[in-house]
Amino acid sequence: MGEAARQPLKPLSPAVRVGRFLQPWIRRLVLWLFALWCLFPIYWLFTMSLKRQVDAISRKPKFIFEPIWDNYVKVLGSGEVWLYFQNSLIVALGTTALSLLLGVPTAYVLARYRFTGNADFGFWILTTRMTPPVAMLIPFFVVYIRSGLFDTHLGLILAHTAITISIVVWLMKGFFEDLPKELEEAAFMDGATGYQAFRQICLPVTLPGIAAVAILTFLFSWNEFLFSLVLADRVQTVPVGLYNFVGYQQIRWGELTASAVIMLTPVLLFVFVFQRQLVRGLTLGAIK
């Protein structure tokens, strides 16, 4: 969020008190120390992508070395990484779209309508995330082989959606619950149907929430490993493809880390786009 976007919130200053009990410089120090903690392993991964295999695992970790681009040239030249990228993009975008499409309406009804079994239904959605993958994989595999979903994008999208839909429902439920119900009541007065109240009144207001949930869903799907490994063969997603660099004999550090760095770019782009969406939604909220 940029300076300009935050500005309108400023005059309301008490909210800004949330963390005000620290001096600004201490606050800034803590924030940047945490950033360092997040960044250091990524930085190390990045340096390894610029090293030769011998330097990557040398006895004395090298901070200063002559960077080489061979790993990137090799990875980008082989073309495989593009396939992983394509597969992951299709699967992650498909999963995000499908999870939101199915999950958001469910969340809205759970948050807003009283009906028998509301709580139990919500809990059942939650249990779908609880089963350990070890128990799910073999039945999934058998069903997928029989139904022709094995080794298809659609198959992976469905499997990932089954994993992510619970989190979409539960997070969005929280956002909908926070809306004042006068919003919809006013719409009903004007003769709106339940669907119109949802689609035209509640959905736009919860846009920042939807953006945050979309980012999470995308990341979960983009990084999912186990199901993607077992339920597909030629349709390799990024994590599965990268795992190919981990051999029994040795790990090809340069190619592994270079691919990881390359694959970080589209994710950051996606986050960036949705972050703008998030800011737009927030400022809308401030005007309201």
Partner: protein, 297 residues
């Protein structure tokens, strides 16, 4: 409300719930029933022809094995420690970030990196960074005159390191949800409290934090569910070792199922894990009263 409106209402609710229900029933109920059936059988891929239902024998054998109870203890310790660290760090940093005015987009992007990088690459990078003789962590310790550590070599240290790596990867998740909650927060009660002369600490703990609870509850439930079945970090970094010091239930199930090929026993472990998770989340969610719709129409 007249009956036609009631019917419309019911139809609307049904229409909104059906698609997700169909998908989830199809994709999760069948695998669940199959593994429930497995857990009552002696299915082993070594001797698939001897298949028979042995009912509760798997469970009896499990409850008598010290390996199982050791795994339960480690899984619970790991889950609680990891989620506690992630919750405190995530909420604390989100609160500080909410107040910050400089370089916020950059910070937010950096905080998301551990969640965004391909875990396979990150976890293997951690393995080399933690290596006692080649690793950069011990190198840095030596530079500032501290003794090197055997990060993954001793039981207590190994579990601590695993918690730290899990916290590295997943604190951003809690941070993201807490930041979303803070952004959506209604600020009037805070203003009122400040007028009444409440200090910043009081406002944070008595007003801000309680308003964040619904969001944090969801974050904690999901993180606990996932931490409870953590696999990749433990598998790559310690493989459950040294000895069985970091062998969680999920690793035990993996070992029984995919190494010893005893699918029946592995499925029984998975079912017990599922029951433990269900009990925990039921108790937790009831306790914090998450089930009632707050403003029902």
């Amino acid at each position: 409300m007249n009956s036609s409106a009631g019917r419309d209402r019911r139809r609307f609710v049904l229409l909104m719930l059906t698609p997700a229900t169909v998908l989830l029933l199809g994709l999760t109920l069948v695998p669940f029933l199959v593994s429930l059936a497995f857990s009552f059988s002696n299915l082993s891929l070594v001797t698939p022809d001897d298949f028979a239902y042995i009912w509760f024998e798997n469970f009896g054998r499990m409850f008598e094995s010290p390996e199982f109870w050791n795994a339960v203890r480690i899984t619970v310790v790991f889950t609680i420690a990891a989620v506690a660290v992630e919750l405190v760090l995530g909420v604390g940093i989100a609160a500080l970030l909410h107040n910050e005015t400089r370089a916020v987009p950059a910070l937010r992007l950096i905080y998301l990196l551990p969640l965004a990088i391909t875990p396979v690459a990150a976890v293997f990078t951690f393995r080399i960074m933690l290596n006692p003789s080649l690793g950069v962590f011990n190198y840095l310790l030596k530079q500032i005159g501290l003794p090197p550590q055997d990060w993954l070599g001793t039981p207590g240290m190994a579990l601590t390191t695993l918690v730290a790596v899990d916290a590295w990867q997943w604190t951003p998740f809690i941070l993201l949800i807490a930041a979303g909650g803070l952004a959506a927060m209604d600020e009037e009660p805070l203003e009122a409290a400040q007028m009444d002369g409440a200090g910043p600490f009081e406002i944070f703990f008595h007003h801000t934090l309680p308003m964040l609870y619904p969001y944090l509850a969801v974050a904690v439930v999901f993180r606990s569910i996932d931490a409870f079945k953590t696999f990749d970090i433990i598998f790559v970094l310690t493989g459950g070792g040294p000895g069985i010091a970091t062998r969680t239930l999920n690793l035990l199930a993996y070992k029984q199922g995919l190494e010893f090929l005893e699918m029946g026993y592995a499925a029984a472990i998975a079912i017990v894990m599922l029951i433990m998770t269900i009990i925990f989340s039921q108790v937790f969610l009831r306790r914090i009263n998450m089930f009632r719709p707050k403003a029902a129409l």
